[in-house]
Symmetry: D2
Subunit: 472 residues, 4 copies
């Protein structure tokens, strides 16, 4: 997963981009980059690590100009490399071009193969590089025209921010998989993955960039075009379940309220007698509050999170055994001793972490441990930008509910039903969500997904080149 | 404030010390150090920064031995320097000696002056250095005998862990200002500031090191002596209010439960009609849960904390104005719009942060903002190890409740009463707490406190030498 | 300027590459990189800075395999950037490909323009990137066939080492501008810019890679082809004058002896009565020894070099004035006082450094200062890989000998004549050298050089894209 | 060995100190530090590493004031630690005091034992710390009076620069073991170990600080006192042989000329027929020039030094064998092939390096290799500040000339005789030198040296505490 931002017409554009990335840090902790434009040159800086460590005052000084885009990147499977830091910046026949991408192009491997067959070279293992190849190779004059020609060739999820020497362009795929919002701070325009980035820089939220919309911002102002036929939407439901920050507005709804509703529905669907409702922090908190409210069972913050866990952590390897989840969480034993505890989490991936947490809660003295998950079973890999493991590794793809319960050693386990997941949607008919991770119904049809699943390497396929070059 | 740890008889003592410091990171983020002993040499390493950044696998390799002590240090007023990193290690007539100290010696300046008058030299600006001078200058043979002679000369707070080539000694001042606990992991004995450090390394909590107790651990085992006359206790109430981690047992009680009780009492004392109870994360959370439970007003996590705030943060300085509290917290606007909000915080120091948060909550659309503080007014400086500002800077020292309310712009403001602060104590008569920060009743009498307050430099006095040498 | 190395069939290929780069550090101090192959993957690491700082034991561990290539890069005009670190590694239709390049492709801008016109994208500002685009875009199957098709399209200087997953290929342009040698260490084959790299890793020098030769090394052994028509050679004379290490064999001659001969010829051509011959260290040393031997005037090392100058040096900026050449050199005053001094240097570029040194020598008390230059006037820019400034900045392009003498304030000044420069060549008729920097006779004809000189941007043209993207 | 500097009355005192340390880097590469005074505070910064790496513009900004002292430190036997970085700064009854020390206090262990017996604590393993303990413990009021009382208690070598808040004091021991000079730059006064430091900052050399002299510089100007009875001098002859920079004036003579004389005398004493005289760079260069001049045998720089060797160098450890001296030096084979070579070096310590170099020269094809050493046999350890190994490790302490020749595998070997070593002294009768390293005649008499040699730990004794604390 990734977070992106763009700033237009602010004297300290790169500094605002930096602050916005800081607010979007939860969307990617592997690397961060900013590219700014003075109107003539594009200036770029990126590195592995966290936003606040990378962008010192010195570095920001070297990114002058009134326009900037930025990117935070999440570590994907096995390819965590300097060369994949975004924004991705190139020179082509029309000048300099930089792009920050959130999403995943599912037919990137096919496009890449074709380009390579015609003699192109690739320097990263990112799907994003194929977008730039496509843009450079079309014959149209203007970048907007090139985008109109290129975007229909892309399958998959893409929220994009482009920067040239003189303009900023924001694009969202017709499905609207990933969020992208537009804001305003004084005379500056801002685009960002989530509204929490607008909040930090005190920009006002104007509206979402719409699915299929191309927004161009230059000295003539903002121009919006929607050159593509209308399309069923496919917002990623996992942004609501887990990914976005609770204080953000995503897909025009507040994430906190949505999550609280998941908890409330869960309490209605799966009641259980207990002494307390305890969230797995931090993602489980709003759902646990909703569950507690509905069930009238007291909410307790009885699993305490170590605030310093974001950092590199060298775990001793020798005689000391693996501390796993203990480094992040610790139960309040006195609260749990002899009690019946309902734990609330957003999802179960492999099941191993849940098992460790339940063991920890039992060791703390809990008499019963009931796990409630504020989403349906995650049984299918995501090909649209979330780094889920392969199908085989997803516990819900091959174990029944009862088998999972036994594996994690819970007294009871239940997931939110798919209908209840959409408790909020009745208010807004006509919108769809991509919930393929729960259902296997991928929005772009059977054709390439079949192949992807067969090879168990759909995302891998997109980065097939990765086997050839690795930065260390 | 500081956190300390000691490990005896574990093949990877320094690694356990590192993990324990990691769990105690909330007690000090400025610097960290570990000293280990192989039985012959003391090996030392310390640096400015966070535990997880300082102690790489390489560094831990260089700290061999089955004994280790460690320290995390909090930035105190103006003296944040390499030379003050602890553990503090010296050679004297009996060999090597290293010490880690949590607390503050209030008569350090007087002792230091006397030593300097007799020709001693000081290399740090820490009160801890005078303890070592005293220990080195006594005539007794054994270190325990030296401690028995030296400790009565010290006024103030000291939880100490000493390491020599062959033994580990833990000491707690007779008042028991600061916590210190004893644990066991297999054949290893562990001392630590809080039980959360024991939890992480999977050590069992045995008991508190008692006020006035000296615990010596060497190859003959553990030996406890209490050579001092019994003394009224003076546990620091602020450990309960703010400092300790909620999952720790401190002064034989669980911190989470104590704080929840503060919130419950607060709801009973100061009811107000409202739509939600919102904690200022993270310290206000348990009290807010208690308040919500008692008042039946819904608990909401409507102020969201940025997880990545612990890190260095370069704030842009030019045209962008100060982002202050926004970098750490962001309201969930959709929850607060048009609502009456009760905010719960643990204390008010200068009042400026509270004012910013209330402004932020009002900007998010809240109709009313009521601030409830889960402790009495903080009106007096602490001379026992907590880095409160001088009296003049404490808003409650010179403003009435109504003036504070106006300053922070709350619709209503109330603090917990002093009697309710001790809701928990009826169960355990005979124990006392130091609540001088609320009352001005300093436990060690008027004599030196008068002077300290007059010069408004009581802690400063202890580090008077600091004006002479500064590391940059 | 740059230095390159390739290792084939050694269990610690990357470590040997590292040592070889260490010996070639004088050819480029800006950045360094190594790419290794395990037979499957290419592993890459590079960074700004010096070889010994970049390649720690940790980093070398991450570059396994029995094949490796490496590169050191010199800071060129204005484009000192992370993205230009070599080896340059890509994926294309045939797999992974990495290249290290010493030289300069003079028609890179033209080729690049054409590629961009057809939709290609560029990510660096290096001429080397066009070589890879050409190689990827040809239709031939084998890399050797691709090279045979591509190389004739390149104008300029290129000593290249390629690495694929399974083979190492070394190429030298038909003119043989830049050196490249072949060596052997046990069962491993080595290619390197200079023999001093072979010496350090204790490899035996076999022979030069010949101009126009393509050497392929894979599991079948070494295969040499020379697919191009024979060509007049154009070895860079400046390698002898200044660039190569004196202990190296370059163009089949030892550099030290060549330089000593320059000094001897200089003494014959331009005798002057004096008390001592003093080299400007370190490049002037062999010529000064030759001069002293021939003239019978005592050789003195009376300008002392600070050994620690290679490092970053922060020069105070405020009231202290620029220390310039003093940071590097200091005269032995007692030797020079009242004496007539002959200084020997290899060349004069802008004249400012010579002026400072002569002032320094006069300040040290010298009665007369005679400057002798062991090469002819440098009056023309190099387009073949040496970073000379533009014509306007070369003092000899617009000032007469007498004007230069006055500018640098020498009592006398003379350069080596062009015929004497080739004192060594009588032994080897039929060989040519590129001495365009002295004569303006560029080996590849008037056509593009005219244009280059007109725009005063011949090398700039090759990196025209640099204006579009800059890394900071 | 160490280098020291002091600056008084310059607006950028710390920057001048930095530049001076840069020029003195050859006297110590392990660590460097600067302490400055604004008149009120002492500000300190030091770190492990090289001057140019430690003192960035940022760091120098934090060292304001018009007074500063600085220190570079050489790695001594086994105790290379953060805590031993100088200047050493303390607070005592009279305020702040900082000192930079070049030399070695031979009775430091005795003094230290006595202090420890009276209860003092030590934090470093440096002899310098005892000087500060002595100064702090005397009863005199003024620092000068304290020095007059303390200095006679010190045995050994000490060139010292002290800094208090308001004055700078320079001291040299009565024997004058280590150099110390006084200079002037505009209104600023400068003291430094060697004149090369004055040259870099463009200060004029005034005179040596005399043996036994105390120079105090404060706002009243410079005041010199010589409170001690006159004493036979004992200048360290090894400063001439090896340690000082050739462009420095040391003990009122130019080092280059002295060394050239050593070479000349060596040629007279030990002639040999050969084709060339080759120095082991860089210390052997002036002597080789002198030898060549006298013998009429051509001087050749036929061993080439890698300029980048000062840096950290990670040597591969696995199958590649130790590269030793090759990393630093490489022969010019073409010069040496079939030739008779005279190598000139300053001294032989263990003999292993000489053996490697001779092997390397033979491998390069030399027919005969004659080694000439420009000093007598080094057979005794130095207790006055030079880091020679113990007696047992000095090859000349237990092998005859012929045995050494065989060990290093030279065709002939000869050392300079002791009388010829003093070729320069006839001009200045009445001066003495410490040449105990050649003769075993230590200047301070048999008493403590006997013991030191017996325990083979004379210097170790001074740092006996080092066994108790080690920084890693």
């Amino acid at each position: 997963m990734c977070g992106i931002v763009g700033i237009y017409n602010h004297p300290e554009a790169s500094k605002l981009a930096y602050l916005a990335l800081y607010a979007l840090q939860h969307r990617g902790q592997e690397s961060a980059g900013i590219v700014s434009s003075t109107g003539g040159d594009l200036k770029a800086y990126g590195a592995m690590g966290h936003v606040a460590d990378i962008f010192t005052a010195d570095v920001l000084e070297k990114l002058p100009g009134t326009m900037a885009i930025g990117h935070v990147r999440y570590s994907t499977t096995g390819e965590s490399a300097q060369k994949n830091i975004q924004p991705f910046t190139i020179a082509y026949s029309r000048g300099g071009l930089s792009v920050a991408h959130n999403g995943n192009i599912v037919n990137a491997a096919e496009i890449r193969d074709e380009f390579e067959a015609h003699g192109a070279i690739f320097q990263s293992t990112m799907d994003t590089e194929v977008i730039l190849h496509l843009l450079a190779s079309t014959k149209k004059n203007d970048l907007i025209d090139r985008l109109i020609e290129v975007l229909p060739q892309l399958k998959g999820a893409y929220s994009l921010v482009f920067l040239t020497e003189t303009r900023l362009i924001a694009v969202r795929d017709p499905f609207g998989f990933r969020p992208l919002v537009l804001g305003k701070k004084d005379d500056a325009l801002v685009v960002a993955s989530e509204t929490c980035a607008l909040d930090l820089i005190e920009a006002d939220f104007i509206r979402e960039i719409e699915p299929g919309e191309i927004v161009q911002i230059d000295k003539k102002g903002l121009k919006s075009i929607k050159p593509f036929p209308p399309q069923k939407r496919a917002h990623c439901i996992f942004e609501y379940v887990y990914f976005a920050r609770p204080d953000s507005i995503v897909f025009d709804r507040n994430v906190y309220e949505i999550r609280k509703g998941f908890g409330r529905e869960l309490a209605l669907e799966n009641p259980v007698k207990a002494d307390m409702v305890v969230p797995i922090p931090d993602s489980g908190v709003p759902a646990a509050i909703g569950y507690a409210e509905e069930s009238k069972i007291p909410f307790q913050m009885a699993l305490v999170r170590n605030h310093y866990v974001g950092r590199t952590f060298i775990e001793p390897e020798d005689s000391i055994r693996h501390f796993g989840v203990k480094v992040k969480l610790n139960p309040v034993k006195q609260m749990m001793e002899g009690k019946k505890v309902i734990l609330i989490d957003d999802s179960i991936v492999r099941g191993t972490t849940s098992r460790k947490i339940i063991k920890m809660v039992r060791d703390a003295g809990a008499k019963e441990v009931h796990l409630r998950i504020s989403s349906p079973q995650t049984a299918w890999p995501c090909f649209y930008g979330i780094d889920t493991p392969t199908r085989d590794e997803l516990i819900a793809s091959h174990k029944s509910l009862e088998e999972i319960r036994q594996f994690i050693n819970a007294d009871s386990l239940s997931y939110l039903s798919r209908p209840s997941l959409y408790w909020f949607e009745k208010q807004k008919p006509g919108e769809w969500f991509c919930d393929a991770c729960f259902t296997g119904n991928y929005p772009e049809g059977a054709q390439w997904v079949q192949r992807a699943l067969k090879t168990d390497d759909a995302r891998g396929a997109a980065t097939r080149g990765s086997r050839r070059i690795r930065a260390v």
